[in-house]
């Protein structure tokens, strides 16, 4: 793994992505110590343009709240939602896909039909419905995003497992009488991991976008500030005050771009054929 990280840093896109992600994580973790004031607090007169007052470097919104503080605290919510919902999606998707691919037959059929059931519903529409029914809160948002993002994981893992299952070392393990779970966890999954890691890094980016879209529509957790909420709330006054929407919009762009670069970089690094070419 350490080797993998080193190789990722040698990939120019991957390097930029990692730098962006590290900065975002530092902001999210240390932000509240640097800015103890709640981002909801009305600190100045409304609609202060950016770069005019040192106390509110990026200006204030329609209620006089500090846009910069909103960005800092918003990073927490965006990253948290992105990581946790991806983790939940992996916890659901990986075992399902692995079982479907390994056992095949009826189990495969049943699990894949179940997966398709979720895949046939447009994911964003399903997320909106789930959050609206459960009342918007950080838990319902994470849950909804996880529910709409696990099916691709399951399908990917199934495909990998299907091909690995026929390898000789797996056959050998079966012949020596290893248990199914041991074979799946120790023989197959470690070898199926690379594409899952790539997918996961892209899923974090997608989850951040989904959370922003939900918040933009007013379905965010009303007790937590997030970038999507800031864009949504500022959208209505965009003709008077562009900065309220533009800065959080840029934050979303940069964060999603960073994660995508990492995903691309990982893909390059983990793909054996590409690796040879790049050397």
């Amino acid at each position: 793994m350490r080797n993998l990280f080193k190789r990722l840093l040698k990939n120019p896109g991957g390097l930029i992505g990692v730098v962006i992600l590290i900065i975002a994580v530092i902001i999210a973790v240390a932000g509240p110590w640097l800015f103890p004031n709640s981002p909801w607090r009305m600190v100045q007169r409304p609609f202060v343009p950016p770069f005019t007052l040192a106390a509110v470097p990026l200006g204030t919104d329609a209620l006089g709240r500090d846009v910069f503080a909103g960005l800092i605290y918003g990073a927490r919510v965006s990253l948290l939602v992105g990581l946790v919902s991806t983790l939940v999606a992996l916890i659901v998707g990986v075992p399902l896909g692995a079982m479907a691919g390994y056992f095949g037959g009826r189990i495969d059929d049943a699990l894949m039909r179940f997966t398709e059931f979720f895949q046939t519903i447009p994911s964003f529409a399903l997320a909106i419905v789930l959050v609206a029914i459960l009342q918007p809160s950080i838990y319902s948002i994470v849950g909804a995003i996880a529910i709409v993002s696990w099916p691709p994981v399951a399908r990917l893992v199934r495909g990998e497992v299907l091909s690995l299952r026929t390898r000789e070392y797996v056959q050998a393990a079966i012949v020596t009488g290893q248990s199914h779970s041991w074979i799946i966890w120790r023989e197959i999954l470690p070898n199926a991991l690379s594409p899952v890691i790539v997918l996961a890094s892209l899923m974090v980016a997608t989850a951040i976008l989904l959370e922003s879209s939900l918040s933009f529509l007013g379905l965010g957790d009303p007790n937590l500030i997030s970038w999507g909420y800031m864009v949504g709330a500022g959208r209505t006054v965009i003709r008077q005050a562009w900065w309220i929407t533009v800065f959080p919009g840029l934050a979303i762009l940069v964060a999603v771009l960073g994660l995508n670069l990492i995903g691309e970089g990982l893909n390059d690094v983990l793909n054996p054929r590409l690796r040879k070419d790049s050397r």
Partner: protein
């Protein structure tokens, strides 16, 4: 705030001064926005805001009300009250006809009252004290009451008691009567066409009973679902009238600066929308009077007025808006004072229990208001959790008393007996309904004052009772009063005399004319 000042300057000078000076000109069409699209136009059955706005041109009531809420002649040209205040005699205008040519008579009034008692919730409550109605001749209607009812002359506005044609509705099923789709009234404009999702067209009534009126040829009520598109339609001149509430608040300052735009806050005196927060008096921290008072001190209402409502409106002093009869500001005052709020919370023994706050899901303005109030409350030590809901969810939670603090606003209809008492008397506590005494406040003394106030004569006696009730209520803080709302009407300045009464746009465009 500069914005607020310039806006109020506009308010005071644009209407009034210039509007009356010129001779009205005939002809032309007015394009007005209606938001949202009304569910129907049969005013006796549907009383949604947009229905009242459109149908106020088609139907008429017996009386209209000035900006100071004095009754003005409508379909009734004069009226008198007996000495015991139990008999009201109305003289109807003669020569009034329905849009289909049939004459309007006292029989229509009698029928309308019978029909409204079945179809119109507020009319039914307003008429509880009505004993019987007599019609000695075609142009006389006599109302006999069981006991004196002070606000009786205040219940004849078109939205509260529209006159409906007996010859079209008698003996039919009101709900399915085909005339509901092609409403027939006595008003200055006649229904022509309703293209769903696009526009409602009304044309001039050539036989209108006020000679020479209306001045304009007709009205197009444009249906434009998107708020930003409504603003743009006004800016580009596609529509001339934006009635109160049809654009978002933050667009108001920008639109009022559009060349040739006039803005007024007038025309809502009869309704006097008052915004407050329900405080659950039954359970949780808000059951404690000191906590409720702390909320009043903690919330910066001037800020809300200046920033969230762009300087429009007025900080409320108590349960009555200042435009309502018998209003008094001689009550305990709650200025913005966080230190005092903190002290009260300490006295009350509040220890950071979670308090749920439910903003009104009516769009951006209300969301921002909820966020500002939440921050105010957190600043004095409350532990606030915002609950996000949609309109049905909010109504259900409030009706089931499942809330701690919840935003609302209600109309007050000119008289404390019609629009104020309902939210504070204990006989009006009924689970499952939204606009009654949902806070669960119960005070026998207040009950008595409101009950006597409704039936006392003369007005000086009523004034005394209601002023006493207001003082007690403001001391007890059953709900946290916020603002007297003002919904500005924005018009193209060439449209004159649009708003002439306290009912505003809902009173129809009978006096409006276009300066070409």
């Amino acid at each position: 705030m500069l914005k607020a000042i310039s806006l109020s300057l506009l308010l005071s000078c644009s209407f009034g001064a210039t509007a009356w000076a010129q001779e009205p000109k005939m002809g032309g069409w007015i394009n007005a926005v209606i938001q949202p699209e009304p569910p129907g136009l049969m005013l006796a059955q549907i009383q949604n805001g947009p229905t009242q706005m459109v149908s106020g041109n088609i139907y008429e009531g017996l009386l209209r009300y000035s900006k100071t809420l004095e009754p003005l002649p409508g379909l009734a040209e004069s009226w008198s009250v007996s000495d015991d205040a139990k008999t009201y005699t109305f003289k109807l205008k003669s020569g009034v006809t329905w849009h289909d040519g049939k004459p309007f008579t006292s029989a229509d009034v009698l029928f309308s009252i019978e029909m409204l008692k079945q179809t119109h919730g507020r009319a039914r409550t307003n008429l509880v004290q009505l004993d019987k109605v007599e019609t000695p001749d075609d142009t006389t209607v006599v109302f006999k009451l069981t006991q004196p009812f002070g606000p009786f002359l205040g219940i004849f506005e078109v939205g509260s008691m529209p006159m409906v044609p007996k010859h079209l509705y008698e003996g039919t099923d009101y709900k399915t009567n085909p005339n509901n789709n092609t409403p027939i009234g006595t008003g200055p404009f006649m229904f022509k066409e309703w293209k769903k999702g696009s526009f409602i067209q009304l044309v001039k009534n050539p036989n209108y009973h006020v000679k020479g009126k209306p001045y304009i040829d007709g009205i197009y009520w444009q249906i434009i679902p998107d708020a930003a598109a409504r603003s743009v339609a006004f800016e580009t001149g596609k529509v001339d009238v934006l009635p109160g509430g049809s654009v978002e608040n933050f667009d108001v300052p920008r639109l009022s600066k559009v060349k040739g735009a006039c803005i007024t806050g007038e025309g809502w005196e009869f309704f006097s929308p008052l915004a407050w927060m329900w405080l659950n008096n039954r359970a949780g921290p808000t059951a404690n009077k000191k906590v409720r008072q702390a909320i009043m001190y903690a919330v910066d209402r001037e800020f809300a007025k200046d920033v969230i409502w762009n300087g429009l409106g007025k900080v409320a002093t108590g349960p009555s808006a200042s435009t309502i009869k018998f209003y008094t500001d001689d009550v305990p005052k709650y200025p913005f004072d966080p230190a005092k709020a903190k002290a009260l919370l300490k006295e009350a023994g509040y220890k950071g229990e979670k308090v749920r706050l439910m903003p009104l899901p009516y769009g951006e303005t209300w969301q921002r208001w909820g966020e500002a109030v939440k921050q105010n409350l957190i600043d004095v030590g409350f532990n606030i959790e915002t609950i996000a809901t949609d309109v049905p969810g909010s109504n259900q939670k409030i009706g089931d008393w499942d809330y701690d603090i919840a935003f609302t606003y209600l109309y007050q209809y000119g008289d404390p007996a019609l629009g104020v008492a309902r939210n504070y008397i204990s006989s009006n506590i009924a689970k499952g309904q939204v606009f009654n005494n949902v806070e669960g406040y119960s005070n026998p003394e207040v009950d008595r004052l409101f009950a006597e106030g409704a039936n006392a004569t003369p007005d000086s006696k009523r004034k005394e009772l209601y002023e006493k009730a207001q003082k007690i209520l403001v001391e007890d803080v059953p709900v946290a009063w916020l603002l007297e709302l003002q919904f500005p009407t924005i018009t193209n300045c060439k449209i004159k005399n649009l708003i002439t009464t306290g009912i505003g746009v809902n009173d129809g465009f009978r006096d409006a004319w276009i300066d070409k």
